[in-house]
Amino acid sequence: MPQTLAQKILQAHTDDTVERDGQIVQCRVSLVLANDITGPLAIKSFRGMGAKRVFDKDKIALVMDHFTPQKDIDSANQVLISRAFAQEQNITHYYEGGDCGVEHTLLPEQGLVGPGDLVIGADSHTCTYGGIGAFATGMGSTDIAAAMALGETWLKVPPTIRVNFTGVMPRWLRAKDLILLLIGTIGVDGALYKALEFGGPVIDALPVEGRLTMANMAIEAGGKVGLFAVDAQTRAYCAEHGHDPNHPGLIRDLAADAGAAYERVLDIDVTGQEPVVACPHLPSNVRPVSEVRDTPVQQVVIGSCTNGRISDMRDAAEVLRGRKVDKKVRCIVLPSTPTVWKQCLKEGLMEVFMDAGCIVGPCTCGPCLGGHTGILGDGERAVTTTNRNFKGRMGSLSSEVYLAGPLVAAASAVAGRIASPDAL
């Protein structure tokens, strides 16, 4: 039977025979992830289950990235729980401090997640790793606790929606625009319980960092995973980031079989498409920038697991170079990992950001979830490169969040209102 990418990866991690969508299969996991918010609950459940040892100390990642650097006493105490557990269980991949970054940028960058892996994480944006061809999905803390103890989890084989991006990629269009266009088309539950599988000539040419951006937001359409085939782009990324060349997922190209059965196939032609933003208060409320231009903004955030990688920093710097952030705007730049931060330094991007009047901060999720380092007051409006614009997500219930890529975010910081980079 010809298989979709989702079916194929699941089959590699289960002893059951994957025969149909909707079937429940028991899968071995390659890596289990939790962060400073979800870790303590997972540890509590782990203890409640009577578990004594984790299944494999090398296959668990604990990344303290949300409320860190510890923003208050309660969040510091939460980290203490994870740190003590990591020490007790001798967890290899515990991150807190100078080597820590935003989890979904950090793990593929450090080679901890590779093509063909099956990863579950107590964070909804775990689906990011679909960008390098991993079946990766978010779950709650107790599911994660069970996987920490057993090394396996149950998964329902998802039906797949295939999305082909075709046409000529315009000068100012980026991966963020592509995924927002899709979410705007199918809605925030358009892929509920389903896999998204991306392809087409535009995707073939898209570097892995852009694919990670797109897979990251599969959950914003309700999706279980957002999958990309393993190809030359994947190999280039894995080589650059020191992945083991003998990793099972890299030995041969991993792609859906010809003739695989899809629930739905969508074609999106990007020719002539202008950049887009997702307006308050749903990621599916997508409009071309020109329709909302001149909307005043008070904050811009460039960073997060969606758009905090070096290619995003380069995009932001391209717009900000030689320009000034509007006096009425605070523009906060948070490179996602120490590696990205250092690369920005090497390339002179930090100087560009500082000269433009940006606030450059630590590697943290901080403002994305209204945690810290850039919270919106009553009635304030932000353009951000993050992934959610739910009511109150970044602060006050009366604030507003517009989602965009780094080019539009940077242009909006300069203009003091929502703007496209070609309008500056």
Partner: protein, 166 residues
């Protein structure tokens, strides 16, 4: 298991930031989280809830983050059941793992009005709206979910499986 309580209706695509905003995630205590339940929608909302009341939701309830604090906050506010048009995937797993019963009923949810008195028989999946007489029958739970719920959630389920004291 039978439940009886007043329906509290919420709309479509209610996200986890509405159910429990991220700034309250510095604890996992059910009672504390329960006091903030639905405060991303309306900080006063939870004050109308009495123990045993039933949450009734539109399409895609629980979308957004993976925070298990969301079902915990609902349970902490005293609501043991959510009847919904449909549920977001991660929330669905989390709810059963925490011992919160979800009943996915599609368009039938429109038969229930805010404030109606409901009676639920979980075993048969029957929902009876005592205020307007409407009957809704929820499709049976997947076996895996019923097994987890029968042990009070995933913790009890895995504990049983780990019986060897691993």
């Amino acid at each position: 298991m039978e439940y009886k309580g007043k329906a509290h209706k919420v709309g479509e695509h209610i996200d986890t930031d509405a159910i429990i905003p991220a700034r309250f995630l510095v604890t996992s205590d059910a009672a504390t989280l329960g006091e903030k339940c639905m405060s991303g929608l309306d900080p006063e909302w939870v004050k109308r809830v009495r123990p045993g009341d039933i949450l009734v939701a539109g399409r895609n309830f629980g979308c957004g983050s993976s925070r298990e604090h969301a079902p915990i906050a609902i349970l902490g506010a005293g609501m043991p059941v959510v009847i919904g048009h449909s549920f977001a995937r991660i929330f669905y797993r989390n709810a059963f793992n925490m011992g919160l019963l979800l009943m996915e009923v599609g368009d039938e949810v429109d038969k229930i009005r805010d404030g109606d008195e409901l009676e639920i028989d979980a075993a048969t999946g029957r929902i009876h709206d005592l205020t307007n007489g409407a009957e809704i029958v929820c499709p049976p739970l997947p076996k895996s979910m019923a097994a987890i719920l029968a042990r009070g959630g995933l913790v009890g389920y895995v504990k049983e499986r780990l019986g060897d004291g691993r």
